[in-house]
């Protein structure tokens, strides 16, 4: 269940580093930077950014609908039935 946090928070890029996705998308613990260092070009950050775009690109190009469970296709069909009229 997604809930509204009970406190105000500024963007916290350390969150980007946390969790299992960080291992795949980010790789290195280099983005827990302060505000000053954010403004500087950072080759490591660029590399990390490319990794996220790569993840999406890999999915877009490599997606194989035949590997999906029937429910996915059934729901896609429902989406067309529900949107067309």
């Amino acid at each position: 269940m997604t809930m509204i946090p009970q406190r105000e928070s500024s963007i916290d890029r350390r969150l980007f580093l946390g969790g299992p996705g960080a291992l795949i998308l980010l790789g290195q613990p280099v983005l827990a930077q302060d505000a000053k260092s954010e403004a500087k070009p950072d080759a490591k950050a660029d590399a990390i950014v490319k990794r996220l775009s790569d993840t999406i690109a890999d999915f877009v190009v490599g997606f194989d609908a035949t590997s999906l469970p029937p429910l996915a296709i059934e729901r896609a069909r429902l989406a067309f039935i529900d949107t067309s009229p």
Binding site: G21, V49, L68, D82
Partner: protein, 412 residues
Amino acid sequence: MLAGSREEGSEIVCEMVRQEGAGPKVSVVGQSFRTSPQLAALANGVAAHIMDYDMSSLLGQPTSPIIPALLPLAESTGATPAEVTAAFIVGFEVCLKFARSAPEQSLAGGWHAVSSIGTMGAAMACARILRVPREHIANVLGIAASLSGGLSANFGTMTKPLHSGTSARNAILAATLGRGGFTASATALENPVSGYFRAFDRGIKVSFDPFAELGRRYDIVERGFKPKRYPCGGLGHTAIDATLELRNEIKVDDITTIKTSITKYAASRIGDKYPTSIESAKFSMPYVAAYTALYGAPMLKAFTEESIADERIKTLARKVSVAIDPEFADILDESPSRVTVTLADGHTVQRMRYYASGTPQAPLTKEQVEEKFFLCAERAVDNTAATKIFSFLNQFEGEPSLAELWTLLKRG
């Protein structure tokens, strides 16, 4: 889209599209003219969203522009229904990953996910159909990121569905330019100073973890979506469901108050004022609650000038109040409601609904899906065409070609 093509806002957009005089390359759903893929996507997107009857998922309707963008591209490229189905799932999954990465974007950020997120997912769906080379997809993402937007301040006006139209158009623009080698920043998404996530999720927690699930876990399976039962703001649907359940226990003339308790997110989108237009009626709790209590489920005829002028609805709507329910105030991924009706003798009756009709937890029946289809389709095409379209779509991914569909979807 067919029903929406008859709405005033769609007519205005289509008149503009006609005046543009673009080459007649592809069909526009519910219209008799042809135009360019981008302009067709613009008109399709507005028509898809203008009645607020299109499917919901996380953060509202972020997937709204995908099909409006895919149809013109499918026609211009000759893509098969199976290829279009795959592209739709690609777009859906990308949308949901963006939505899950920053679930507060709509509430705290003030952005309309149809545009801020829908553009990104629709662009990836278009990239799939256009077979954009892998090395150019980062450019498509970067272009789409710069073309995203959409302010939730425009809810209740024609500009809300315009967001779906511009997102569909911009998705084709981004995918086409990206395929052609048009460049964008490699840091357009994550740039910590000026990237997509910084701009749209300023001050909001963001996690990229959902993107790691791409191709591994499918939101279309695990979360699904909600085909709407009612053609109005989805965050108020549980209140409608609860009111419908209460109708069997009360006499309308005995009602002294109707208290609707909802989430903070719903309260940020659903108003407590009586509507002044069809668009605003879709986001007015007093209106939809009073209509439902009086006449039952608010279907298409509920959202007409005639119904808004109904004195019985106006009178009962004055007895409707809206409050935040402390039990579920902060929930974001569902929109529960509690409706409490107080009667003249002091007796109260109450219903709470957590999941709205149409959600995977309370799915529409086949009969309800079919009823909705024909109710909408027959506003634009005759029954024979509607029946053929319904039959085609029910075996969509197995059809060899979409050619038949373009003729059927023309204005009847």
